[in-house]
């Protein structure tokens, strides 16, 4: 994987470069002390993976990600664990490493990056819900059929021409519709609770008024779908 390192701290860049040198599949193309220089580079070069510091003057790591149209895989590096939740809002973020980074943890992050399915919007043009086989659902992402374990899906969200499929391990963006994926999922496990959301009812944590907490997501329940949801619950 071709990588770049973005960190305003020279010490951190040297450490990440050293960690990368332990992994033959990694090739560091460039190092940048700020995000602006990296953006210019990315406009003209393709990279597979970015090691990105969150805390940088003027332009934070999250600001940087938002400027990228088709972000590559990103591993965040930071001295703070407090941004972890925000990090998982971004599909391109593979892992979150807290400094000082030890080699075993770094190797684990790279393994995740290597198996990570890129879900950029460019890829999504070719994405379609394809077929099911037993407990598996296959989706076409970037001309590859990716297997998703159906029971691990906890939420599907419709957004325009795409659906976001959220599972225990990964999130996928697929060019498809909620209706189409609903047809591929077992009715006893999945339920449409809103025009934009299908949930795995077994993953519900709690229900409050007109919303459902599922994992960390609070999902609205529409008035018309609420009776069916209540029917599914084993109420005391």
């Amino acid at each position: 994987m071709n990588c770049i390192i973005i960190d305003d701290e020279a010490t951190a860049r040297a450490i990440i470069a050293q960690l990368c040198s332990n992994i033959p599949s990694l090739n560091i193309l460039e190092e940048f002390p700020n995000a602006i220089q990296a953006i210019k580079y990315l406009n003209q070069n393709e990279v597979d993976l970015i090691f990105l510091d969150i805390h940088m003057p003027d332009f934070t790591g999250f600001d940087f990600i938002q400027t990228l149209k088709n972000p590559p895989k990103i591993i965040l590096t930071t001295s703070d664990a407090q941004f972890a939740i925000e990090a998982f809002e971004y599909d391109c973020i593979v892992d979150y490493l807290v400094k000082p980074i030890a080699l075993p943890r770094f190797e684990k992050a790279i393994k995740k990056a290597e198996s990570f399915v890129s879900t950029t919007s460019a890829d999504a043009d070719n994405d379609k819900v394809e077929t099911t086989s037993g407990n598996d659902l296959y989706v076409n992402i970037d001309r590859r059929l990716i297997k998703i374990d159906i029971p691990s899906i906890y939420l599907i969200e419709a957004k325009g021409d795409y659906i976001h499929v959220k599972t225990e391990d990964k999130n996928y963006t697929v060019h498809s519709t909620l209706k189409k994926i609903e047809e591929k999922l077992p009715n006893d496990l999945f339920l449409k609770i809103h025009r934009s959301y299908v949930i795995n009812v077994q993953k519900i944590i709690d229900i409050e008024d007109n919303s459902v907490l599922i994992k960390k997501d609070v999902i609205p329940v529409s008035r018309s779908n609420r009776p069916e949801l209540m029917k599914r619950l084993n109420l005391l």
Partner: protein, 105 residues
């Protein structure tokens, strides 16, 4: 006060003396620069910027194995974010501890 050490750097270098020396050289150059910027911002009562500086310095503190000092720095960083200078003296002692140690390398 706990003493800085090179355990993390040694582990990271895996016996690569060239890398170890390179990293120490970078730290010896970068640490005083970061420290100066921190003092400058603190004296100008720019506490938000000082908190950012402390955040950066925390990495050096952790690299040098100063676990207790790291916690102190974390609290100080949080205080500075609220324009509270509590912990200033203790944090300065940590910086001095590192400065003294780097001079021995």
């Amino acid at each position: 006060m706990e003493h800085p050490n090179l355990s993390y750097i040694n582990e990271l270098s895996g016996g690569d003396e060239a890398f170890k020396n390179k990293l120490i050289t970078i730290i010896k150059k970068e640490f005083p620069e970061e420290k100066d910027v921190y003092f400058k911002n603190f004296k100008a009562k720019n506490f938000k910027a000082s908190a950012e500086n402390v955040h950066k310095l925390k990495h050096k503190i952790s690299i040098l194995g100063l676990e207790e000092s790291y916690k102190i720095a974390e609290d100080f960083e949080d205080n500075l974010k609220e324009s509270n200078v509590s912990g200033y003296e203790t944090f300065n002692e940590i910086l001095q501890n590192i400065t003294d140690y780097l001079e021995t390398l």
